[in-house]
């Protein structure tokens, strides 16, 4: 199946509050970030505008995030289909 790339990222920070994550997300061109209620230091970095599906992986954004000293791990999110029943 064709892979759908998105502008959503799971980002694990070494440490940091919601405010720090929001700041980091803005610095990297995201709309904002939201902490996940489970896991340690996990944040959802999401785009500022209406999300679009992409044919190509956003490598530049990924690389920049991964190189940031505040970031432990970055996981780009693939898109997939879910249907209303």
């Amino acid at each position: 199946e064709e892979v759908i790339f998105t502008e959503h990222f799971l980002v694990q920070l070494h440490e940091g509050t919601n405010e720090d994550a929001h700041q980091l997300a803005r610095e990297h061109g995201f709309g904002s970030a939201r902490k996940l209620p489970f896991g340690e230091g996990l944040f959802h970095f999401y785009p500022g505008e209406i999300p679009k599906s992409r044919r190509k992986r956003s490598l530049q954004q990924h690389r920049r995030l991964a190189k940031d000293h505040r970031v432990k791990n970055v996981f780009p999110q693939e898109g997939f289909g879910r249907q209303k029943r």
Partner: protein
Amino acid sequence: GYREISNFDVNMSDPLFTKQWYLINTGQADGTPGLDLNVAEAWTMGFTGKGVTIAIMDDGIDYLHPDLASNYNAEASFDFSSNDPFPYPRYTDDWFNSHGTRCAGEVSAVSNNNICGVGVAYNSKVAGIRMLDQPFMTDIIEASSISHMPQVIDIYSASWGPTDDGKTVDGPRELTLQAMADGVNKGRGGKGSIYVWASGDGGSYDDCNCDGYASSMWTISINSAINDGRTALYDESCSSTLASTFSNGRKRNPEAGVATTDLYGNCTLRHSGTSAAAPEAAGVFALALEANPNLTWRDLQHLTVLTSKRNKLHDEVHQWRRNGVGLEFNHLFGYGVLDAGGMVKLAREWKTVPERFHCVAGSVQETQKIQSGNKLVLSITTDACQGKDNFVRYLEHVQAVITINASRRGDLNVNMTSPMGTKSILLSRRPRDDDAKVGFDKWPFMTTHTWGEDPRGTWLLEVGFQGEAPQSGVLKEWTLMLHGTQSAPYIDQVVRDYQSKLAMSKKEELEEELDEAVERSLKSLLSKN
């Protein structure tokens, strides 16, 4: 299951209440009287969902709707599609954005306000989680939704999933699985979040065991029955379905659908299909949680098994059968249709079931060939980890983790038989599934049909092909995983109805405990001599 409607004093002024046959079925819309969720009995006992919050994970809720507004829990709501706290439905490409609003009405529509009808749990709170309306789904949006405020939200209702086209095999990804595990372990102060899932609408061409959400042990998967007790056209074969609701009318009667709230303050008589199954069930579970807020996620599954009824549910293809401990089940309906009255009565005095254990009963890892016309039969003989800390004596869920490839995946049939002789169809034929590459990779097929059984002995797995053209395949793994309790789950429960499934199960447990005690004594005596 027939009861006199007049026994219950239910007076509702809402204009669509008399159309809501799934609440009280007096024979409306060519239905069969008595085929309903028996909510009147629960309401008469005073349980209407007070103090319980149900989240609808869908395309949002019209929270300004006058039949929903006063029951709307704004604090527990969020829009993960647009990243704001206001999950109001938005325009979508297909113009169908009333799905969540309809579900919300089935759970929590306000009673006696002269608007639309009433919800199953009309004094409960409903939260909106909008998460379906971006051009794609992501693991992180699902995980965020399913783990949203687990100390405030009691029940999460989902009427969506992987495409039910009869050829998709898909389920929750890693983060969502982690979120669900976190929810059942830590949600509701450790009693566990309740996830209710509509089991799918792919019909006889599909199998809900290929939907990893519906077939998860952590979700209560609900099927749909129609107002005269027959199966809905879209019902999927499924060994992981636990129970059913009345949520669809088959006949060409405009009033045979489900009456509920609709977008922009409207009402509808036409909500039907499997999507109504999950919210109706969530409403019934809300009544049970009000009756006993201490119920854990597993307690609710036990209560569902014990109180769901065969009633007049009829399936022409799959007969009703009894499992090894006498519990009657059907391959579409699970243990039957939910009975709200029965559930709250039992819930009130329910004592939390004993601790759950997990045992890997065995695994076949050698590659096995499968050919058309030559069924592969494998066996695993297990002591169910007896003598170890994780011994499982009374089954809840059983998983068969299978890796298999075939020249045509859709022609594969997989059946599993327990040591007590209960046969579950883990995978039925899916004629539209022509996959020849992916197969099933460590896919956790699940059955609820062996509930309460003793897992010790020999389990059989039968794998074959069904279809016109000859096919071949390879099974690479079958790992059998048992989940359940060491001690009898019902032995401490209070029996009020001696004809009930609880009474039967408790009697069975007592006899088995006695037999085993006698056996132990004899062995001890013999060894001394």
